[in-house]
Structure formats: C-alpha cells, structure tokens
C-alpha cells in the first residue's frame, strides 16, 4: 500500500507537504517537512482509497510544541 499524505502544520505559519510513502503516518510519528521535523498529532482519510493508494491528511506540530491552542 502507498499512502499519499497531505501534511499541514498546526497554525498554518509553515508550509505543508505532500508526499507518497509506504508507511502509514501514525500519531506521535516524526516527519521531515522541508528542512524541519514535525510530530504527527492527527491522521484521517482525505479521499476514498483506490487500488494500492490511500489518501490521507495529517496535522503536525513542531517537535516539542504543546498540543494546546
């Protein structure tokens, strides 16, 4: 399975990222977006799966940042 993931950084002050990956993103996982690393805080389906592809959205925050608004 290939996961096409839309990563959006909480707060919208940093550009997001779209990438295809073989591992499903999980809450607590770390992802590199550009030169920085972020922690996944939420994952959900963006579009219905088709063939070998799943289409996901993940919200991330800077590593070490609080989850509160």
């Amino acid at each position: 399975m290939i996961y096409k993931v839309s990563y959006v950084v909480k707060g919208g002050q940093y550009p997001g990222c779209i990438k295809n990956q073989e591992e499903k993103p999980v809450v607590g996982g770390i992802v590199a977006i550009g030169p920085k690393k972020f922690e996944v805080i939420e994952v959900h389906e963006m579009m219905p799966p088709r063939d070998d592809f799943q289409f996901l959205h993940a919200t991330v925050k800077a590593v070490g940042e609080s989850n509160s608004e």
Partner: protein, 148 residues
C-alpha cells in the same frame, strides 16, 4: 529503485499496465539535482511536467512586490509542472530543490500529449489521475486555509 517501480509509486500512473508504463518511461528523462537548484522559474514557459523520484522540492511563489513565500513542499511520488500541460500557461511558481541528490523525471508535454493522443487509454488514465492529483492539492490547500 527501477523507473518502473518509481512510476508505480506515483498515483499519476495509477492503473497503467507495464506496457503503458514502458511507453511513459521512453519519454522520461532522469535528472539529478542538488540543494538550491531551481528546476524552473515562475513566469517561465512550461514545456514539461515532472515527477519526484527521490528527495523534496519547495514550491515558491513570488508576489508582484517581489516577496517570496513558500507554498508547499513536495516529496517522493509527487508531480509538479502539470498545470502547463493542462492549460499551456506560464509557470505559476518556482521550484527549488532542498535536498542534495534529489532525482526528478522530466516528461515533455509535447511527447506526452502525442502519446495520449496515440494511445487514448493512456490519455484517459493520465488525465483522470492528473485531475485527481489537482483535486488532492486543492483539498490540501483548503486544509491550510482552514488552519489559519
């Protein structure tokens, strides 16, 4: 990773069989980039679309005042430059490579359009997948706006 495996890793080529993928491979050119390389500049003429096999690129948009902002990063399996293929317009953004050793495949619009016209099954699948990719990018942008 072979080019076939790379193409199968990109949803742009979803549904194409091995013979059809081989035809896409025949019109693809591999290029290697380093950090800071510009794949193409905003407002330049668009004559090709690109598929990222390895690494990440930054989509930069420059305002009329000359201020640059980063719109999104694209990683493996992603397509860029496809708008010029669809509407023949100028490039709407600049593409800057952010990782050394980034590998990108370039597919000339003319060759792809010719292939799609010759083999309409490829044409249908490619256009369907392109539409789906544009839809995904719009949904991504909607999430960004919702999060502001």
């Amino acid at each position: 990773m072979s080019l076939t495996a790379i193409l199968q890793h990109s949803d742009l080529f979803q549904g194409l069989n091995e013979s059809q993928l081989a035809q896409i491979m025949n019109i693809s050119q591999e290029r290697k980039y380093n950090q800071g390389d510009v794949v193409f500049a905003q407002d330049s003429e668009g004559d090709a679309m690109y598929v990222i096999a390895k690494g990440q690129v930054e989509i930069q948009i420059k305002s009329e005042s000359g201020k640059k902002r980063s719109a999104v990063y694209l990683g493996e399996g992603q397509v860029f430059g496809e708008l010029a293929l669809i509407d023949q317009g100028k490039r709407s953004a600049s593409i800057v490579v952010i990782e050394d050793g980034t590998i990108i495949y370039r597919i000339l619009s003319e060759a792809l359009n010719q292939l799609c016209a010759t083999d309409t099954a490829i044409g249908y699948l490619m256009m369907r997948n392109l539409a789906k990719d544009v839809s995904f990018k719009l949904r991504h942008q909607n999430r960004l706006v919702a999060d502001l």
